[in-house]
Amino acid sequence: MPSYEVSIIAKSLAKTETVQVLKRVCQTIWNGEGVIKRVEHLGVRDTPYKMSSPDGQRWTQARYVLMDVDMSIPNSRTILSEVRKDFDVIRTNAIRLDQSFIRPCTSGRECEFGEISIDETKRKNWKRNKLKKTYMRTQNREK
């Protein structure tokens, strides 16, 4: 399961009410077989422009929250679509996080001395892009 950073812009409500809003969001993620690692609160801030919630109210201030979530790619869409139906959530979006490089020594594997092996998929993609670029260049020259 890839890891995502889910950003939530909720209504600027009281703490007890926001807890319930975030609980509902957490429940939808768990229903979609997701794992919530961490929740971060960025405070109540001014929105860049007037934002409207699904129930039609206009908001100039909103509560910003970040969540580190692991979820499958097909389930991520359904989760987001369900979260967007919530009246107290103004905006949501998920950004996929790149897997940070972990040293083989720390992860328990044997140490690979010398050059670290690159994945074959990455190598193939790099080669394909390179070949495509060269091919386009040659075509342009011929023209």
């Binding site: 703490k15 926001t18 807890v19 975030l22 609980k23 957490c26 768990w30 794992v35 919530i36 690692k37 961490r38 929740v39 971060e40 609160h41 960025l42 405070g43 929250v65 970040l66």
Partner: protein, 212 residues
Amino acid sequence: MSIIGKLLKYGVTFDSIECSRQALPVLDFVRWRKPRWVTRAKSKEFVLSKRHEYNTEETEWLRRTENHYRTQMKAIWQLIKLVPDQSLPNDLKKKADKEKIAKASWKEMEERMKDWNEQVAMIREAEQSKMNQQRQNKLLGWLNQEQLISEQFSEETLKRLQREKEAGFITPENVEQKLMESLETTADYEFALDKEGVRVINFDESTEKKQG
């Protein structure tokens, strides 16, 4: 054929005669034919050619002999049709023998083919049984592998759940507590870093500096 060709045919050589245009009209034996567009000569307009006279005795003899031949041949053909066994016994015998030989050879061939088919079937069945066994073994191996993987997966899932508990992930049991904790604190990422690693929160000089 050209005139020179005719001359050569009759044995005339160019050494003997002066071959020139002046000399050619002299030769009478070369037939002169009337061109087609020229009309018939008036001297030959009403001329009738003599009728050919046949010899009557000869013609009668020829007719008689022909009739005799035809009757004889008719009789022979009728005889062949009526009595085939007596007239051509050898040919018929040969035919019958050929048929018998063909039948016998066909039977032999069938028997031989049966034997061959049996031999080939034995080999084929043995190979097929071997292939089936190999396939069965492969499938059983896969099934065993799948079982092992499922067992490992279940173990891994249990381990994962334990790890989540240890790492402090958010679960339905500790949701409210975690959310309240997170809402009490606010994280700020609106800052820059100096070369010395100092965290600059606002770019104005009047603001405070915090060490990161």
